[in-house]
Symmetry: C2
Subunit: 468 residues, 2 copies
């Protein structure tokens, strides 16, 4: 345990204990390491540790029980993301964009938000599905719980679609959930312990970071670029950190829009095998691709790769339905976890989603959506360049463009000022475990057409330059 | 730490370590207690501990790292309820009834299941709500995410209904979830650490036990009888176990149908205050009561009581929507947890539920439901007595009757035999942390009218008596 730099050894010990308490590696009521063990592992004298513990007792952070040692004070303090990560700047809190987007008023323009406009959604099909459920559907579809794995016809359909993307599996290896997010949460509950190291792409979807925080994982970012993850950096991270999980995405990545090459995918699986790392692959943006890119789940045959997915981007975010794919023995354990923590996924939602997907117009809807997004990407890239921003790449699919501000401007500062003018941007560091992409913004190309967005961007950039 | 009885001290130490590994108090990769600490706390010699550790290494359960101590072997073994509780008899696994009920065929009669028949549901109102959402609803209600706390009109309505039951709160103290179950899960994630002691009523809703297992809580049952929890036993449990949480229910209890008296409620809150215990009160069966019984949340003013609830029993289990009520500062932390682990509750479900609840017929529906259930309770009690079973009480509300088999028969054995004849009973011990109610069955009075149920019950009881 390398101690942080500190004025004295006693301060260093106190700082380390405080850090463990803040990160909940030492929970309220937990016993501190024995003086002897701590002294040995930290390479300091026992008297130094005793001094430090006594001073923490004096501070009230720690209590001492005669004969039984030292314990973290406080018994009912609840866990919160803030307490897990007390130094978090709220503007780069991974939940910042979500909270702002879900709670801001209708006057706020949201080029930073990850949802497509209503006009991009198959609302007519959703309305039709609602009417058919009201009219023809079995009463059970309106009233009952789902079966343990979830609506069989929908699982069969998902198995078919996954097969078309090179992921061969049995519908029994698919468990429906209320969202891809819940699927990932259940996988983490199954597979990691607090303190386990999880590797993520850097940048990655900000909610991956928020969720890993809530699981008290040790999150390590691996640089992710135009061709996918930096495999040399991934190898170093796997060799160094003894990670349990590498969490990544298939198809156009959120936020960069970059796609993993076949060569990279092969390298990633070889490294995961060598270092006994489980790979979680999220496939939320699958249907944005015309030509499917490599799926780790397909290449690996779901041996050490597990996956999540949903249709919230191409059907509806109000119909909560996602899925997990995994080895049969893990699916069995995941069903237990799902039933005990949520009493199963929503049956009505899965029936409605199945009706929309089989309504005969979904394929056409998705093709039209890809065309619209290709146009939007082109227009947004043009605007960004016109205002001096530099896109990392020109994504060949998806709804996002990832672009760097000029002159080393700080995206968090720009986002804070812009929000005051009713424009919500997504600053780079909310996507970054390492906080090394402070200059970037993520743009939702379908939500970036309003000229006011770029007026405000231009004005806030000038203000930040001027340091006002 | 009291060691289990064992042939030798070395075996005893090995047994204790194995138990900690099985219960995940020692997780894969975790460091074993230092030889010195373990020897002291167990009152055995260091050489005994060293012997035991070395033999566990030889078995492969533990690995030894030169200079840094002993560690639990295995890094990718997933968590499962079975591994958490390896000696679990599948027939008294708390998830048994749920899994059987959700996956059995239509020919199976389910007097043990907790769902009302479709004919008891307001299906017409649900159909109307679906049509109105398809027709008049705003597109956002079909397509968008919910706001962080969830649909404001529904929270306002729930606040009103809670007020009628004596729970005064602001709608901002209500967070919508996808189920009462998810609400409880989020509360446990917020409030407890693995290994924390949680007190539950004994018997209680079996999924409370399944969920607490998945949270790795130490679950302690407190006898629950005709007047509610045994407050003297509760006081002893609070004094002995330093519990963090007491998890209980308001209204007619599942499975006993008993209701907590005002005097008991007052005593419970006084004890919780004295021992600094947080009380979680589930209110799922609220609308079954004609005269509301005392709510701990109301008496306490949501200081140390938090609550969960839903409408899955009186509206629909397919519309996934529940809620949590808590102190404002805890609600803030719960919203972070909800967003990061499920991306928020389902917006469409909350809109549909709100439409059903405000449709003008819900009050009539609930009154008719109470009348039907009163009739069903009477008929079921009559049949049970005719077949020699003894009800704990005659519940004055709700859908359950809790009755004891004659002649000390084992309900798990009866349930196993009955399932082979396509009748699903709910054996007592799935509801019991102490497994001390082996003679009881829970009956859903609305699902117990079919004569075949009692033919099978009679036959299986005879077979069990005869020990066939």
């Amino acid at each position: 345990m390398p101690l942080r730099a500190a004025a004295t050894r006693v301060d260093a010990v106190m700082g380390e204990i405080r850090a463990r308490i803040a990160s909940r590696r030492l929970a309220p009521g937990a016993r501190l390491p024995s003086v002897r063990d701590f002294a040995e592992s930290a390479g300091v004298s026992k008297s130094t540790v005793v001094d430090a513990y006594e001073r923490l007792v004096a501070e009230g952070a720690v209590t001492s029980r005669r004969g039984s040692g030292f314990f973290v004070a406080g018994a009912t303090r609840p866990l919160s993301l803030q307490s897990l990560h007390p130094d978090l700047d709220r503007a780069i809190d991974p939940l910042w964009v979500t909270r702002q987007s879900l709670s801001c008023g209708p006057q706020v323009l949201k080029p930073g938000w990850g949802i497509l406009p209503e006009s991009y959604s198959p609302d007519v099909s959703v309305q039709r599905a609602l009417r058919s459920l009201a009219r023809e559907g079995a009463a059970g579809d309106r009233l009952s719980y789902a079966s343990p794995l979830g609506h069989p016809p929908l699982r069969a359909l998902i198995a078919l679609r996954l097969g078309e993307r090179g992921v061969a599996l049995d519908p029994g290896q698919i468990m429906l959930t209320d969202s891809a997010t819940q699927g990932l949460d259940l996988l983490l509950r199954l597979l990691i312990e607090p303190g386990d190291t999880v590797l993520v792409d850097d940048p990655c979807y900000f909610n991956f970071l928020a969720m890993l925080l809530s699981h008290r994982a040790t999150v390590v970012g691996v640089p992710f670029g135009p061709a996918g993850v930096d495999v040399d950096a991934l190898e170093r991270a796997m060799a160094a950190g003894r990670p349990r999980i590498y969490l990544t995405t298939a198809g156009p990545q959120n936020p960069t829009g970059a796609v993993t090459s076949a060569a990279t995918a092969h390298r990633v699986l070889t490294l995961a095998e060598r270092h006994d790392v489980i790979v979680i692959e999220d496939d939320t943006f699958a249907d944005f691709e015309t030509e499917p890119s490599p799926r780790l789940a397909g290449l690996d045959g779901l041996a050490r790769v597990v996956g999540t997915g949903c249709y919230s981007k191409t059907v509806s975010a109000a119909i909560r339905c996602g899925y997990v794919i995994a080895r049969p023995d893990w699916i069995e354990a995941l069903v237990d976890l799902k039933l005990s923590t949520s009493h199963g996924n929503g049956h009505m939602a899965s029936v409605l989603l199945h009706t929309v997907l089989t309504g005969g117009t979904y394929k056409r809807h998705v093709e039209a959506l890809r065309t619209k997004l290709a146009r939007d990407r082109g227009e947004t890239l043009g605007r960004l360049r016109a205002f001096g921003l530099t896109p990392l790449i020109e994504p060949r699919a998806g709804m996002f463009v990832w672009a760097e501000l000029p002159d080393g401007l700080d995206a968090a500062a720009v986002a804070r000022r812009a929000l005051a003018e009713d424009v919500l941007f997504a600053p780079g560091n909310v996507f970054s475990a390492s906080h090394r992409v402070a200059g970037f913004l993520r743009f939702n190309v379908a939500g970036s057409a309003d000229p006011r967005i770029f007026d405000v961007l231009d004005r806030t950039m000038r203000a930040c330059r001027a340091g006002k």
